[in-house]
Structures are given as structure tokens and as C-alpha cells.
């Protein structure tokens, strides 16, 4: 296995607490390009890994504003400009009756923003990921907790990193290829 092709080192842990402690240790050693892979979100580990805030909220807010603007523009243009409908003595376009549809379109586009924004930031869907080459990774969706250290981390060294992962309680420590 040549080092240029190595994606990184992956280790398995028994519990949420173990992988959390291991993450604290590796970060304190100076590693930055590491990630944990867990069956459910472990609260607080994003702070340990210094991941920063999620940007999904901004995408969602932008989409919500687009929804409001699109709804207003649509209803004004269709009922108030292109083909005026005079019914029960009401103005063809007036804001109060536009509120329900404006609200619904805001929610709809924000939801699209939240879901597709999340998938986009996470770069999903993805057909393959190097981590799937690890021998016990199938338990990541069951009851085991994994940590990966990418080879592109400046601190990464195939021997030292593997030893470190073993010393913090990792089992099945393996180098996986790209």
C-alpha cells in the first residue's frame, strides 16, 4: 500500500464515551482532519472536533425569502396584472388574502433548502466512500463507533497515527485506501 493512495486510518470503538475521549485526545495532539462515524449523533463532539457551525440555516433562510417573493410576485402578476379577477367587490390584488399561500410557499421552499442544502453540504448522495473499505464499518449503523484520521492531515504518519489510535482504545485500526 503506497502512502499516496491511503485515505487515512480508521479505528473502531466500543462506546460513545470511548470515541468521545479519543477525539479529545487526538485533537489535543494536534490532529485536525479527523472525523467520527457513529450510529447516532453524539452531542458535543462537533465542538471537540472544532467543526464550526452548520450553514444549513442560511440556505434555508434564503430559500424562505425566495418563497415569499415568488408567492407575492406570482399572485400580484396573475390576479392583479395579467388577468384581473374582480370578485365579491374585492381588489384584484390585495395583501391580506395572499398571506396563506405566501406562508405555504415560504415553508415549502425553506424545507427544500433545509433538505437539499443539508445533502449538498454533506456531499450526498455519494456512491462510494473510502471508509466503506474498513473491515468492520458495517457496524457503524448498528452499535459501534468509528474514528477516521485523513492522510492529508499534516500530523498524519501511518505508523504513529495507528499506534496513537490503538493507545486511545481503538480496535481494528486499519489504513484504508482511497
Amino acid at each position: 500500500m503506497s502512502d499516496g493512495k491511503t485515505y487515512g486510518a480508521v479505528a473502531e470503538f466500543e462506546s460513545a464515551a470511548a470515541v468521545y475521549r479519543a477525539a479529545e485526545r487526538l485533537v489535543s495532539e494536534g490532529y485536525r482532519k479527523l472525523d467520527t462515524h457513529t450510529p447516532f449523533p453524539i452531542h458535543g463532539i462537533d465542538t471537540v472536533l472544532k467543526q464550526g457551525a452548520s450553514h444549513v440555516g442560511w440556505i434555508c433562510a434564503m430559500m424562505g425569502l425566495i418563497g415569499v417573493a415568488a408567492a407575492q410576485l406570482m399572485m400580484w402578476w396573475m390576479n392583479g396584472y395579467d388577468y384581473k379577477i374582480w370578485v365579491s367587490g374585492k381588489l384584484p390584488y390585495d395583501w391580506p388574502p395572499t398571506i396563506p399561500i405566501t406562508f405555504e410557499l415560504m415553508v415549502l421552499l425553506s424545507a427544500f433548502g433545509a433538505v437539499f442544502g443539508m445533502l449538498g453540504i454533506n456531499k450526498l448522495p455519494r456512491l462510494h466512500h473510502p471508509i466503506f473499505k474498513h473491515s468492520t464499518i458495517d457496524r457503524v449503523t448498528d452499535d459501534r463507533f468509528f474514528m477516521s484520521v485523513e492522510a492529508s492531515d499534516p500530523m498524519f504518519d501511518s505508523n504513529r497515527t495507528v499506534q496513537l489510535l490503538e493507545s486511545v482504545g481503538g480496535s481494528h485500526v486499519e489504513l484504508v485506501e482511497e
Binding site: P39, D46, V56, V87, E104, M118, T141
Partner: protein
């Protein structure tokens, strides 16, 4: 010292009962839920599925006959033009509301017991909205021009009238369906990854590929989880006002009109409470037998049923209060038409429907004050059936009793459904149950990753050894 010391604590009201009972760890939770779909298909499933598909085929036949012949095949008459289909529409859309309440509102309130039931209530929402959406679509009569309700160019060269609550409904229901579906699917992704990995291990290649495609390559990265949780929180935040808006807008279909008995400002909150009440009724009707047959008692505990019964009690009481308030407002308004509409409801030709509604919706939920009833699956199941019946009759009473005697005495008439009306209603249950049974057979019916997150071992600060765990519980 072992973990058992926790139980020795005198009953502490602040200490919540655990979500997952029994001797379970992460792996056993996974295999319990996945075991439902991995086990050989039970014979009972085939029987139920056969009945449901038969009802569904009957629905197709009814719709075919309706489209071929025209809406005259229904019992709808001149004053009661809305008739049975709109009763069914409001009934089904109301049932859909429990799913979003459980998945969104209870999520924001951090009610962790929701994790046991959110997945199937969300699924139920989606299938109920499908059944609901069908009725206004076939009720328009000329279903082939249903696209006139959408803001797309048509041969008349004119646009929909956005001032009409019926059009607001189109947007509300379609948004509701889409957002509920997205919410459900996002929740499913990590669990589909679980299924993908289990199928791969069991050598089921095709199944693994299919689940894998829908799992989108999920591998539980903490970076992914962070964005995922943010998106989930936002969806919950969006769905909360959405669920309140949908049934409010459905109630505008009535309240914005001038018909006595409909034209009241109480309708939006009254409809929303009724929707949640009926939805919880339907969740209990499906959950209680499924929980027993699929042996999920450790995950869907009596505490969960107890909490659901309390929500039934709360919303049922709001519904009962609304019924009383409607009468008060009719009297207080001084409008004789309004007063007549309500006297006619309770003592007119449809009084039988009114009193069925009152006994099912006002009297039955009050039984939930008793702890023994809240914790008895059999009692709750029977109660939930009454709630379903009562809520269907509520919509019947609102639609039919108000319309059949409106302002113009000469057009008063009595509405009775035809056989086709009844068969179509049965057919809509067929659609709902067919989808639900397929869901139970092929998808994780309990949110595996979410329920794991509520277990004590999920905390990054919990230790594996009993003594530490016990200490933590005391802290």
C-alpha cells in the same frame, strides 16, 4: 453496586421513565426493529394485505365508474353539494395531523417518548394525506381539468383566483404532503443505511443495493450528523406552524363562507385540536395491535401509550369545549340563522349523527383521566376506535347539517349517501392500509438511530460500568 440501585430511589417525579425498557443495548434495538422486516412474512400480514388490496381495487373501480358516469352517482344534492367526499377529505387530512405533531411539535418540546412512535405516525400522515387529497380531486367532477387549480397556463387563458380559500387549500395540502414526506425521508436515511449494512451482511445483494441507494451513502460522519440535525431541527420548526396552518386553512373553506354554523372565528383552533385528537386516535388504533404482534413492547412502552392518552384527553377536552362554545356563540350572537343551525344540529333530522359525535368525542376521552385506562392497551384500543368514529361524524355533522338547511327554505333537503359513497370511503381505507402494510413490511417502523440517542449509553459522558452509570443516574 449495580445499575439496579437507580430503581431503589423513592419515586422521584422529576425522574423520567426510560424510553427503552428491558435488557436492551444498541445492537438489540437494531435487531428488534430490523427483525420485523427480516423475519418471514407472517401469514396475518398476507391476510390483511389481501383485504386492503381488495378495498383498494374497489376504490379504483369506484373512481372509474364515477369519472365515466359523473358525480350524480353520489348522494350529493343541491344544498349538500359538498356531501360525503368533503367529509372524507377533512377526516383524512385531520388524521394526518398527528404524525407532524409527534415528529415536529413534540421534538421541539424535547418529548423523547416520541421516538418510539414518530416514524409510523409520520408514515401514517403521508398515507392519510394521500387518501385525503384524492377526495377534492374527484369531487371537482371533471377530474381531467383538475390542473386548473394550479397556477399554470390553461385553455381559458385565466389564472386561478388566489382569494379563494379552496385554492389556499391546494397550496396548503400539497405543501403539507411534500414537507411531511421530506421530513419522513430525512429521518429514514440513517436507518436505511442500517438496513443496507444488515442486508449486505446477510448476503441479500439486491435488497442491500436498493436500501443503499435510498440511504444516499450515509456513514454516520459527525460532520454529516451536525448538518443533518440542523436540517431536522429546521424541518421541525417549519412543520410546527405548517401543521397548524393546514387545518386552519381547511377550516377557512368553511369559515370564510357565510353559511350558518360555518361562519365562525372559532373554526381554526377547533379544527386543529380535532385533527390532532383524531390523528392520535388513528395512531393508537394501529399502534396497539402492531406493538403486540411485532413484539415491540420494550420500545413502545406503556409509558408511551400513557403519554398519548394524555394528549387524547387534552385535545378531546378542547374539542368538547369548542362544541359548547359554538352553542354559546350562536346564542350570544343574536343571529337567528346561527341559532337555528345549532338547534337543528342537536335536535333536527341529523341529531343521531350529532349525538354519536358527542358521545364519542366528548364523553370517551374523559375516561383517560383514569391511570388504569391510560395504561391498558385494550381499553385504549377500544377508546381509539370510538375517537375515529366520533371524528368522522364530526365532519359529517359540520358539512351536512349546516348545508342541508341554509338560508333558502325552498331548497332544504335531506342528504343520504349512496352505496358508491360508502364503497369509496371503504376504498380510501384500502389505499391507506395498503400503503401502511407495505411500509411495515419493508421499512424500519421505529426510528432506530433516534431511539438509540435517547438511551443512557448514548451520552458521551456515560461509562460502561454499572457503578458509574448508577452514580450518574443519581446525579
Amino acid at each position: 453496586m449495580t445499575a439496579i440501585t437507580v430503581i431503589d430511589e423513592p419515586e422521584n417525579p422529576l425522574q423520567r421513565p426510560p424510553i427503552v425498557e428491558g435488557n436492551n443495548d444498541f445492537a438489540s434495538v437494531t435487531s428488534t426493529v430490523a427483525g420485523v422486516t427480516e423475519a418471514k412474512t407472517p401469514r396475518g400480514w398476507y391476510v390483511l394485505f389481501g383485504i386492503s388490496v381488495a378495498c383498494l381495487l374497489n376504490l379504483f373501480a369506484c373512481i372509474g365508474y364515477l369519472v365515466w358516469t359523473g358525480v350524480g352517482v353520489w348522494g350529493n344534492n343541491n344544498p349538500v353539494a359538498w356531501g360525503w367526499p368533503i367529509v372524507n377529505f377533512v377526516f383524512w387530512i385531520g388524521i394526518g395531523h398527528a404524525g407532524t405533531l409527534i415528529s415536529a411539535i413534540l421534538f421541539l418540546f424535547r418529548q423523547k417518548w416520541r421516538t418510539a412512535i414518530n416514524r409510523w405516525s409520520e408514515a401514517m400522515t403521508i398515507f392519510a394525506v394521500m387518501a385525503a387529497g384524492l377526495f377534492p380531486a374527484i369531487h371537482v367532477g371533471r377530474i381531467w381539468v383538475i390542473y386548473w387549480v394550479f397556477p399554470i397556463p390553461n385553455q381559458m387563458g385565466m389564472w386561478p383566483n388566489f382569494k379563494s380559500p379552496l385554492l389556499w387549500d391546494v397550496f396548503a395540502v400539497s405543501t403539507y404532503f411534500t414537507v411531511s414526506f421530506l421530513f419522513w425521508y430525512v429521518g429514514l436515511v440513517p436507518d436505511l443505511a442500517t438496513y443496507r449494512d444488515r442486508c449486505a451482511k446477510a448476503g441479500r445483494k439486491v435488497a442491500s443495493r436498493v436500501y443503499g441507494a435510498f440511504a444516499l451513502g450515509w456513514h454516520g460522519s459527525s460532520r454529516h450528523w451536525m448538518n443533518y440535525e440542523k436540517a431536522y431541527l429546521i424541518l421541525a420548526g417549519l412543520s410546527t406552524p405548517l401543521v397548524l396552518s393546514v387545518h386552519s386553512i381547511v377550516s377557512y373553506d368553511f369559515a370564510v363562507s357565510l353559511v350558518p354554523g360555518w361562519h365562525t372565528t372559532i373554526f381554526p383552533p377547533y379544527f386543529v385540536a380535532g385533527a390532532i385528537f383524531s390523528g392520535f386516535g388513528m395512531v393508537l388504533s394501529l399502534l396497539i395491535p402492531a406493538r403486540k404482534w411485532l413484539k415491540l413492547q420494550d420500545l413502545v412502552t406503556l409509558n408511551t401509550l400513557d403519554s398519548m392518552a394524555k394528549i387524547i384527553l387534552l385535545t378531546g377536552s378542547i374539542v368538547g369545549y369548542s362544541y359548547g362554545m359554538e352553542f354559546f356563540v350562536a346564542w350570544y350572537s343574536g343571529s337567528e340563522y346561527e341559532q337555528y343551525a345549532f338547534m337543528n344540529r342537536a335536535f333536527g333530522p341529523y341529531c343521531w349523527a350529532y349525538w354519536i359525535m358527542i358521545s364519542c368525542n366528548v364523553v370517551t376521552p374523559q375516561l383517560c383521566w383514569f391511570r388504569r385506562i391510560r395504561r391498558s392497551p385494550v381499553a385504549l384500543f377500544i377508546l381509539s376506535i370510538f375517537v375515529n368514529i366520533g371524528m368522522w361524524f364530526e365532519r359529517f355533522v359540520i358539512v351536512v347539517s349546516s348545508l342541508h338547511r341554509d338560508f333558502l327554505t325552498s331548497s332544504w333537503d335531506y342528504f343520504s349517501p349512496t352505496l358508491l359513497d360508502i364503497l369509496t370511503l371503504i376504498g380510501s381505507f384500502g389505499l391507506f392500509m395498503t400503503m401502511f402494510l407495505l411500509f411495515c413490511r419493508f421499512l424500519p417502523i421505529i426510528a432506530i438511530s433516534e431511539i438509540k440517542g435517547t438511551m443512557k449509553a448514548a451520552s458521551p459522558h456515560s461509562a460502561h460500568h454499572g457503578s458509574d452509570e448508577a452514580k450518574e443516574a443519581h446525579a
